[in-house]
């Protein structure tokens, strides 16, 4: 992506809009943070970008591209703010999207509620048509039936239609015919076909994904149009690129067709940034740990790459439990999310034990110490009591924290019932939430056959650097890495992402018996499509990187593993090559394989990407003329040191005055505007070449 020198990443969060500008002519970064207008989220972008351009002494004309990630899709799905939507499906199967997997996600709670589909039964309409499991056409669509359904939809004022027919992942003919008829009869309707959005077997998941996609399309459409206008007002005529949940980026046109692929675009950027830091620091294996106000997210970065999964649920409404959300089958950077954040509430349960989360005070009313009406003690309140947060330097001093109120709440709700001191209770809260996060991260790692001890913890998010050392110790990992610019890390991720997109086709069969011509045809189709999309976005064909992946399993197993394939045409010889690649990967994951067992292919993927952009991270985050570490000490305060069983005075360092190569000894606190790094142990700390703090756990 040669051309103009300036690249801009924009992250629109609930409270702030972050803008990160990189200017290749000077190699400098410029950060801007402006308040988000909740009812018009794109409006702050113009201001933020203008201000960043001014700081960089650049104009809109020198901008090569702007990359954007958003929580709009997730929020619209959680808050059910999408368009009135209808489903057209195969007769007899309109309830698949509600029946789901017929499974209660909690074994003992007889009062649980199942996730409600985005479309009520009355607008799940049926059509006489049928494709067989092998793709054979059994019954074609009757145009007059479609016309009748379109009339009903139109009369009801419904503006979005998902079309999801049985086995369309295998043969999309009928779906395409329905799509064609609708666009002819009612071109004003927004339509998504399941064979385009999520062409994969399993009707519940595919219908759910298709509906989620079309449900948010009108909203995303408007939003992206507004965003383009905002940028054009800054004379930025270049491409607006959108971050995908998988960590790739795509053009606005693609984002408008497949908005459901943006569902995790914010968190994905965080994981990408972690991967980027890791690669530059020669630490390709990391556990990225992002702890915010209500949730914590952990993601394994392996060999410089986050893992991609296609199992995702949006809007988990019940303790973040698997099964309580809407399944969305799109590629997402695989991470685990648990209800543990600064706002997580501490309480005593009916066994007399201390529980922390998943109930959260959120940001409204927020922790007790925010003084906005919260009455139940939270993790942030405990951190304040422990001396880990400075009541006068929260958000760089923009917000005062009420220490006394936090103290009283912890006493009343935790210390008194457990007959312990307030500091002991606060330490208990801190420790329990660390345990919860570490346990979730550990299971996440183990499920993928990884040993969590081998991964340094890369900490960001508002509360991440406060808890990272504790979490790392529980996991047995050797080191915490606290990057500079933790407050705008997502935007770093945006600027790190190559232009990328992935494609998938379902084509089942035993590897020994596959129709290789058909497979060649499927890959040809995907590759043509991919090249069209990426060259349109300005990636020269020579720089395209194609990766073919297959999801395979031993016949009879229910869980696939992803195996990279060789490029080039498939033939009868491919079976042996695929089998040996599969066996090797299986053995790597589970220590043993079962060679000779027949291997079954389920899905075939194609990942296409452009080159990784340059990004000199060492320029990020302040300080050009560092003095000795002592010079960066801006004060001292009392904080709780578990190894010494009580409060001790520790130095508080100004993060902006710590340059590469410095080292010092904990306990210590290192403050920057948007985050605080807590070293509550006599640990070795040093500052690496990218100005990340490296904290040893041993």
């Amino acid at each position: 992506m040669a051309g103009k020198p300036v690249r801009i990443g924009v992250d629109i969060g609930g409270t702030f809009t972050d803008v990160l500008l990189f200017d290749a002519t000077t190699g400098a970064f410029h950060i801007d943070k402006v308040l988000t207008a909740p009812d018009d989220p794109s409006s702050a972008v113009g201001d933020g970008v203008a201000s960043a351009l001014e700081k960089a002494d650049q104009s809109g004309a020198s901008v090569d591209h702007v990359i954007h990630g958003t929580t709009l899709v997730t929020n619209a799905l959680i808050e059910r703010r999408g368009a009135p939507t209808a489903l057209i499906t195969t007769r007899g199967f309109r309830d698949a999207v509600e029946i789901g997997r017929e499974h209660r996600y909690d074994l003992y709670d007889i009062f649980l509620e199942m996730p409600k589909p985005l479309v009520r039964r009355r607008w799940r309409l049926e059509l006489d048509e049928r494709i067989a499991a092998d793709g054979t056409m059994l019954q074609r669509v009757d145009p007059s039936q479609v016309a009748e359904l379109v009339r009903q939809i139109d009369d009801a004022g419904i503006s979005a239609v998902g079309v999801a027919l049985l086995h369309s992942y295998r043969n999309p003919e009928n779906e395409r015919e329905v799509g064609r008829l609708i666009s002819e009869l009612a071109p004003h309707l927004t339509v998504s076909l399941s064979s385009d959005v999520a062409p994969e077997i399993r009707e519940y998941e595919r219908v759910s994904t298709t509906l989620a996609n079309v449900y948010v399309r009108p909203l995303v459409d408007r939003y992206l149009a507004d965003l383009r206008d905002e940028l054009q007002a800054q004379k930025i005529e270049s491409d607006l690129l959108i971050m995908l949940s998988s960590g790739g980026t795509c053009t606005v046109d693609t984002a408008r067709s497949y908005p459901v692929r943006l569902v995790e675009s914010g968190p994905a950027a965080g994981a990408l940034a972690a991967a980027r830091f890791g690669s530059e620091l020669n630490a390709p294996n990391l556990l990225s740990f992002d702890m915010g106000g209500t949730t914590a997210k952990a993601c394994l970065i392996d060999g410089g790459e986050p893992t991609i999964s296609t199992e995702f649920e949006v809007s988990r409404m019940y303790r973040f439990k698997k099964g309580s959300g809407l399944p969305v089958k799109v590629p997402v950077i695989e991470m685990i999310e648990i209800g543990a954040g600064g706002g997580s509430i501490a309480a005593i349960d009916n066994l007399g034990l201390l529980k922390v989360g998943p109930q959260s005070a959120g940001s409204e009313p927020g922790p007790v110490c925010y003084g906005r009406g919260g009455t139940r003690p939270t993790v942030t309140d405990a951190d304040l009591i422990l001396g880990y947060l400075d009541p006068g330097f929260f958000l760089g001093g923009d917000m005062q924290l009420d220490f006394e109120a936090a103290n009283a709440a912890v006493r009343e709700h935790v210390a008194t019932p457990l007959e312990m001191t307030v500091p002991a209770a606060a330490w208990g809260i801190h420790q329990v939430v660390n345990e919860n996060m570490a346990n979730a991260a550990r299971v996440h790692a183990v499920e993928r056959g990884k040993d969590p001890r081998a991964y340094p913890v890369f900490a960001f998010g508002g509360a991440g650097p406060v808890h990272a050392l504790g979490v790392a110790k529980i996991l047995g990992s050797s080191e915490v890495i606290a990057p500079a610019g933790a407050g705008v890390l997502s935007t770093v991720g945006f600027l790190s992402a190559p232009l990328a997109f992935d494609f998938v086709r379902s084509f089942r069969g035993l590897v020994d018996e596959l129709d290789w011509n058909e497979l060649n045809r499927l890959y040809e189709e995907m590759e043509t499509e991919a090249q069209r999309v990426l060259t349109r976005a300005g990636v020269p064909e020579a720089e395209l990187h194609l990766t073919r992946l297959a999801e395979l399993r031993y016949a009879g197993q229910g869980h696939e593993i992803t195996v990279e394939l060789s490029t080039g045409g498939f033939s009868d010889q491919s079976a042996r090559d695929i089998a040996s690649r599969f066996d090797a990967e299986y053995e790597r994951l589970y220590q043993r394989s079962a060679p000779g067992n027949p291997i079954e292919a389920v899905n075939w993927r194609l990942l296409v990407s452009g080159p990784s952009p340059d990004l000199p991270l060492r320029q990020l985050g302040g300080c050009d003329e560092p003095g000795p570490a002592e010079a960066a000490i801006k004060g001292r305060r009392e904080m709780y040191i578990p190894e010494w069983d009580g409060y001790h005075t520790a130095p508080v360092y100004d993060r902006y005055r710590l340059g590469p190569g410095l080292s010092f000894q904990g306990p210590a606190i290192i403050e920057e505007r948007e985050s605080t790094v807590v070293v509550n142990a006599p640990a070795d700390v040093w500052v690496d070449s990218l100005r990340s703090l490296r904290i040893s756990t041993s």
Binding site: I99, H103, D109, M114, L166, L351, K355, P642, E643, A681
Partner: protein, 583 residues
């Protein structure tokens, strides 16, 4: 030393250390279960989740189990370990030993479930056990069905024996099992997965003990069990003393089956007695006491203390008994393959008994058992195919919300997508949809059953075997709520057939399963007319049923409530009882 974590001795487990240690133990069993599901060779384990995994202390007390699983396995596993220890006392076990059985009487009630128990050693010192139970794809005999007349016809019986002896695999046993199964590879593959899963659990347990400097987990489990027992007793004590009884009916096989429960509640304990229930059946629907115990304690925990951890402690305040040779305490060699049918009726019986004392903590009766459908037959090339899947009806309404439609309760299994089944077997589904009017009317409506209609596309005859129920006795509503719809199984030619047994069908014959709905809660005339209208618009309730069963009159042209007619109808019915409605 403090930095290493909380120290645990008999005397000083504070609540915070306990919470931390305990969560870690749960993480350990989740790791065990994850390994099992990832390496399983059968969709019954991986997709349907028919398994359990747990950890026990050196005395055989179950401490924790994975969040995945189904109650019949989990709670049966808790009791089965003592049978293993009777045969192989702890002091005779050596590192590298692995024990196995599918003894229905001693584990989860039918030969299809293999339980694998692994003692875990620190050096040569026993520190605990890991166990798991999985549904085997096949165990020989007649296959999964209720037609056998004794357990000897139901398949291969593996008594409590060693699968590994000091690290050496019992190859002779595996040969024997393989030779007796229709599908030996996945069955043996899953047994190996079970062994690996326990190893994974053991490895993490030892690491955990080392990290926290624990000599033994026994003091920790004493504390967890003591607290769980205390919480369970506290929950029981809140129920007024008394004898609570109820009886429910199942289709049975040759005769209807009556299940009678008496819960004697005194102070902080409950004795649950199934005296009065039918005698054992001649066919494979009998339940062993271990399995009766599992679903009894499960139901009590749901109603009384869903948040209390499920372990030895939470079972202690409860005793479970059933007369010997009754259908809930069948003795060897009674046939037991379909034991889950009646097992799944037990929570409904118990909730009905408790409804009087605690109406706000129970749900009305639901469809009860998951429906297992087995199809098999020749293909046109002469090869043989077979496939089994589960389907579910509606759950009972709750005292504050509607029941859940087409969802398993009390079983914890999952269904399999139609697209997956059609890709694996020559089966064609014509519909899988909610059954209109099957939810029992009530102020809160019972969950709807579903209609599952399918045929076979081999062009050859096939065998159909169902483990179904509720074609004669509907799921009762509570507190004035009405029963859910009866089940109905119809062949393509209109023949209505029984809920159990195998039958041979011609190549073109389709089958329609109408699964039962759950019962309603409180009188249907108290249901908000707007909620009834919503159900009508969504096709869950018909216009006729809205009028006849809810006394809500809906103008079907405009899809609006006729308020005046509804008011008159409801006024009339409240005077004349609940019979009115039809005009």
């Amino acid at each position: 030393m403090i930095g290493k974590g909380p120290r645990v001795t008999r005397s000083n487990i504070d609540p915070i250390s306990l919470e931390i240690l305990w969560n870690r133990l749960i993480a350990v069993v989740n790791e065990q279960a994850a390994a099992l599901m990832r390496t399983s060779f059968t969709t019954i384990v991986r997709e349907s989740g028919d398994l359990s995994a747990g950890v026990f202390d050196t005395r055989g007390n179950m401490i924790a189990q994975a969040v995945t699983g189904t109650p019949g396995h989990i709670n049966a596993m808790a009791t089965c370990i003592h049978h293993f220890m009777d045969v192989y006392p702890a002091e005779t076990l050596k590192p590298g030993d692995v024990l196995i059985t599918n003894d229905p009487q001693k584990t989860s009630g039918h030969l299809h479930d293999f339980t694998v128990i692994t003692p875990i050693f620190e050096g040569v010192r026993l520190v605990g056990f890991f166990g798991n139970t999985c549904h085997a794809l096949d165990i020989g005999g007649r296959g999964m069905g209720t037609d056998a007349r004794s357990v000897y016809e139901e398949g291969l019986f593996v008594p409590i024996t060693k699968l590994y002896d000091e690290g050496l695999e019992n190859a002779e046993l595996l040969k024997l099992i393989a030779a007796n199964c229709r599908a030996p590879e996945p069955v043996i593959g899953d047994l190996r997965a079970q062994v690996v899963a326990n190893d994974v659990g053991g490895r993490y347990l030892l690491r955990f003990m080392d990290e926290f400097g624990l000599e033994s987990v026994d003091p920790l489990t004493d504390e967890i069990i003591r607290r769980s027992e205390g919480a369970m007793r506290e929950a029981i004590a809140k129920v007024p003393d008394g004898d609570y009884t109820n009886e429910v009916y199942s289709d049975g096989y040759e005769n209807p089956v009556k299940l009678v429960v008496t819960i004697r509640k005194r102070g902080d304990r409950m004795d649950v007695d199934w005296t009065g229930s039918s005698p054992a059946s001649a066919y494979g629907i009998n339940v062993v006491l271990n399995y009766t115990h599992a679903y009894t304690t499960y139901a009590l925990k749901c109603a009384l203390a869903p948040d209390v951890p499920n372990n030895e402690g939470s079972f202690r305040p409860v005793t479970v008994s059933a007369p010997k040779d009754s259908i809930l305490n069948a003795q060897h060699p009674a046939p037991v393959c379909g034991r889950h049918i009646l097992g799944h009726f037990l929570p409904g019986a118990i909730f009905g008994a408790l409804a009087e004392a605690m109406p706000d903590r129970v749900l009305a009766e639901g469809a009860a058992n998951i429906w297992s459908t087995q199809l098999s037959g020749p293909r046109d090339d002469g090869s043989v195919w077979t496939y089994v899947w589960f389907s579910t009806g509606g759950t009972g309404a709750r005292p504050n919300k509607d029941g859940i439609s087409a969802t398993a309760f009390p079983s914890g299994i999952s269904g399999v997508p139609a697209e997956v089944i059609e890709s694996l077997a020559p089966i064609h589904f014509h519909r899988r949809e909610y059954r209109t009017d099957s939810g029992g009317p009530g102020a809160y409506r019972g969950g709807l059953g579903q209609t599952v209609e399918f045929s076979v596309n081999t062009g050859e005859p096939y065998t159909f075997s169902g483990l179904f129920d509720r074609t004669r006795h509907p799921a009762a509503g509570y507190a004035g709520g009405e029963p859910g719809a009866l089940a109905r199984i119809t062949l393509g030619d209109g023949t209505v057939i029984d809920s159990k047994g195998a039958r041979e069908l011609g190549p073109d014959m389709s089958i329609s399963l109408g699964l039962p709905g759950g019962g309603g809660f409180y009188s249907a005339f108290e249901r908000d007319p707007e909620a009834v209208l919503d159900d009508v618009i969504d096709g869950l309730v018909s216009v006729d049923a809205a009028r006849s069963r809810y006394a809500v009159v809906i103008d079907s042209e405009r899809m609006q409530i006729d308020s005046e007619a509804t008011r008159r109808l409801r006024a009339g019915t409240s005077e004349g009882g609940r019979s009115g409605g039809d005009e």
